[in-house]
């Protein structure tokens, strides 16, 4: 690494950037001398400054729920954010089954203790409902890529905005129907494609139809399935060393509910409910059945608190960071290198095919970077780019 001591005035700095090793997070920083401070300076006040700035700007979060109809997606969203985001749809009451997959997106601003959050929830009614579900993931992938495209276009403007509005999907919650057996081929296909573009959190929906033992067995089988097919769901292990080693790992390990870590309990078995009932004098959210009331926030009944904590209380910022630093960057590389491949989605410019030149990195200083989980499915092939 090059010493930052410059003796010749005026010569531009050329930091010698090596390809960063997986373990160090600041590999390209110059030689630094640790210094002892003899008294209080007040550097940690910068944390407060950060907080004030963040609270003033507000936060954004975009979540997408994917799953067949009837799995309780809308209810789950309402339960997660404790508000009526969606009206739960009752199928069969004159609402025709959508012939095509239509994405619906709704944005709300919610505030809690002075923290403003602009939440966008995208629903996918009609997913997996047709008889022939071939390529039903294409509209979803198209939508996700379209958000990346918007952000990229804003980013490469000459005069760009101070704060680019972030509509990229930060998290995709995939609802697995509680068959109790294995992941279906549709699930596997979809997860394989999506986990390369976006953070995917699979959950077992309507888990109140499974007993605790069945749940555990199902969960294990799903985990095996995921491993066999090489599907990396959130939190991805391969990013631990790259980006957030300590904080993420420690958060996963310091699990307050039990000694197991998050990764071992994914996919969570969840139940959604937006009605309140009285249990033992307390008012809880739950589903009332003839044989009892299933409390949503009770860890013994279902794992909804885990999902909520993962998504909101502890890993929200991390979800956003991984989307920005990894998935978006992968998209950008793909887009700038091989933009002659027609991207999916409406409103995109139909780009002319680029000259058949070797996609060498542009600019005089292109360095190889550590291999990330990159590439995603094109229209006709399953190859990684």
């Amino acid at each position: 690494m090059k010493k930052r001591q410059k003796k010749n005035g005026g010569s531009p700095m050329d930091p010698l950037r090596q390809s960063p090793s997986r373990s160090s997070s600041r590999a390209s920083s110059p030689r630094t001398l640790p210094c002892e401070m003899l008294g209080y300076v007040g550097i940690e006040a910068v944390l407060d400054q950060l907080k004030i700035k963040a609270m003033k700007m507000g936060f954004e979060f975009n979540i997408m729920v994917v799953g067949q109809s009837g799995l309780g997606k809308s209810t789950m969203v309402n339960t997660l954010f404790k508000s009526k985001m969606w009206k739960s749809t009752m199928p069969g009451l004159g609402v025709p089954t959508p012939q095509t997959l239509q994405l619906q997106s709704v944005t709300h601003v919610i505030e809690e203790s002075g923290v403003k959050l602009k939440l966008t929830v995208t629903d996918t009614p009609g997913f997996g409902d047709q008889i022939n579900n071939d390529k039903c993931w294409d509209p979803i992938l198209g939508y996700i890529n379209e958000q990346y495209e918007h952000y990229l276009q804003e980013e490469i403007l000459i005069t760009r905005q101070r704060h680019i509005p972030d509509t990229r999907v930060h998290c995709c919650v995939y609802f697995v129907p509680p068959t109790g057996h294995w992941l279906r081929p549709l699930d596997i296909e979809f997860l394989q494609r999506l986990c390369r573009t976006v953070n995917v959190v699979p959950v077992i929906a309507r888990a109140d139809s499974l007993t605790i033992e069945e749940r555990e067995a199902f969960r294990h089988r799903i985990q095996e399935n995921l491993k066999t097919h090489g599907i990396e769901v959130y939190p991805q292990k391969c990013f631990d060393e790259d980006i957030n080693d300590k904080i993420l790992n420690s958060k996963i390990r310091d699990f307050e509910y039990s000694s197991l870590c998050y990764t071992e309990r994914i996919p969570f078995a969840v139940v959604g409910a937006d009605r309140e009932h009285i249990v033992n004098g307390r008012c809880v959210l739950g589903r009332k059945t003839k044989w009892g009331i299933i409390e949503v926030e009770n860890m013994a009944h279902c794992e909804f608190p885990l999902l909520r904590d993962l998504l909101i209380r502890s890993h929200l910022q991390d979800l956003k960071d991984i989307t920005h630093n990894v998935h978006y960057e992968n998209y950008r590389i793909f887009r700038l290198n091989e933009s002659h491949v027609l991207p999916r989605g409406p409103g995109w410019v139909n780009l002319a095919p680029a000259p058949a030149s070797v996609p060498a990195p542009a600019g005089p200083q292109a360095n190889p970077s550590p291999p990330k989980v990159g590439g995603w499915a094109k229209d006709n092939s399953d190859e990684e780019c």
């Binding site: 390209s28 401070m37 300076v41 940690e44 936060f59 101070r162």
Partner: protein, 434 residues
């Protein structure tokens, strides 16, 4: 494949929805802060000022530590920038502090170009960041940000007005970096002179259109503090690392025969204000201004220079892609040209070498021929000589036989005369040839 139909419920666009319970995202600022802590902060200060104004001492005092370095001499031929990076740690916050200092500023006789190395340095940092941002494979979240966040401009405590060098330099810097002018070594000015000096400086800056950094007033939490501080600009500071026990505390002082100046006493100097503003209140804002204002300005100018245009947003990816392509092709073309040149040069060299070798060969051949000829000549001579020698030997033999014949005839005739004559003949056989 059916087209995607994204129905955004218009009108409900950003409706505020009431929450029925505690969701828990009020921990978001904490999550953000934890993220930042794990990444660490970096802050870069540039100190511009003449030699001997106390730049290093002030840095030591500000950060309560002793940075390494020795005072510079006054004999530097030009302005140079010296940059050092330090790792500071306070409770759980790690700060990578870079201090860049001008060496030899204001020492030359001709100071016309003194500002240039500074401007070039600042531009170089922006350029490095821009290059990183424009790369296809980039690592922005790991990138060590070397852009200058704050520039402390040290004004000499003359008490009169700004020097023209100061004005020119600050004018050049104000659009590139947050300039904070400070009056150095202000224990040399008395209080009344100080107020007049400050007023004079501010009016000169305003009349020359120099935009110095104003502390932000849009956030209610700090607007008041910043507002009052803005009125005290430029700060009159004193730096010192010597300590003395006053009362029951150790304070940083400068000791004079006529009294002791306490650095952290607000009545004595504005050091505490500077520290408050620079570090405790506005560090984040300085960084943001650098990124969103100065860097964006630089980026815009640079990209327009490179030929990008924003006119048609639809074609933005085009022109970026095309320019990338063009650059790529240009680069490849240059490579090929260079390769050609090298190849030609190589061929030429080979030819020359061949010619040389041929000549050498020819010479060798000639030499060989010559030598051979010489050899033959010698040989011929020798043979001639041998021949002549043989002739003489033959002649001698003939005479010998003739002489013996005569002798044998003479011995029959009479003895001594012939003996004498034989003796003579024997003694001088060579005289026979008459």
């Amino acid at each position: 494949m059916a087209a995607t139909d994204i129905a955004r419920q218009a009108g409900e666009g950003c409706r505020t929805v009431p929450l029925a319970g505690h969701v828990g995202f009020d921990s978001l600022p904490d999550q953000l802060v934890n993220q930042s802590i794990s990444q660490g902060f970096c802050f870069n200060i540039l100190c511009v000022g003449e030699t001997g104004l106390g730049k290093s001492t002030l840095m030591d005092t500000l950060f309560n530590t002793k940075f390494e370095g020795e005072p510079a001499t006054h004999t530097q031929p030009g302005v140079q920038l010296q940059s050092n990076t330090y790792d500071l740690q306070e409770s759980n916050v790690g700060l990578k502090l870079t201090i860049v200092s001008t060496v030899g500023f204001g020492d030359q006789i001709n100071k016309e170009d003194s500002y240039r190395p500074i401007v070039e340095f600042i531009d170089a940092q922006f350029e490095a960041y821009l290059q990183e941002e424009l790369k296809i494979r980039r690592l922005l979240h790991n990138y060590h940000d070397s852009r200058i966040h704050a520039c402390l401009y040290f004004i000499a405590p003359t008490g009169h007005s700004l020097k023209s060098l100061d004005l020119v330099t600050m004018k050049k810097l104000d659009s590139k970096v947050n300039v904070i002018p400070i009056i150095a070594k202000s224990d040399a000015i008395s209080k009344s002179e100080l107020t007049k000096f400050k007023i004079k400086i501010t009016s000169e800056l305003v009349s020359n259109g120099v935009q110095i950094y104003q502390f932000p007033m849009d956030d209610e939490a700090v607007a008041e503090v910043n507002g009052t501080m803005n009125a005290h600009l430029p700060f009159a500071v004193i730096g010192s690392t010597e300590e003395l026990k006053i009362g029951n505390k150790m304070v940083k002082v400068r000791q004079y025969p006529w009294g002791t100046v306490q650095v952290e006493n607000e009545a004595h100097c504005d050091f505490v204000k500077l520290r408050e503003m620079l570090i405790r209140v506005n560090m984040e804002d300085l960084r943001e201004q650098t990124h969103s204002r100065h860097y964006e300005l630089y980026r815009r100018c640079k990209l327009e220079e490179m030929g990008f245009k924003d006119t048609d947003p639809d074609s933005k990816p085009f022109s970026l892609q095309e320019t990338y392509e063009a650059k790529r092709n240009e680069f490849l073309g240059e490579l090929q040209k260079k390769e050609e040149e090298m190849r030609q040069m190589f061929v030429q060299r080979v030819k020359e070498k061949e010619a040389e070798l041929k000549e050498a060969e020819k010479e060798l051949h000639e030499k060989f021929d010559r030598l051979k000829k010489l050899h033959q000549d010698e040989k011929k001579k020798l043979e001639d000589k041998k021949k002549s020698l043989d002739d003489e030997v033959n002649a001698f033999k003939q005479r010998k036989t003739a002489a013996e014949l005569l002798q044998s005839q003479g011995s029959q005739a009479g003895g001594s005369q012939t003996l004498k004559r034989d003796k003579e003949k024997k003694n001088n056989p060579w005289l026979c040839t008459e």
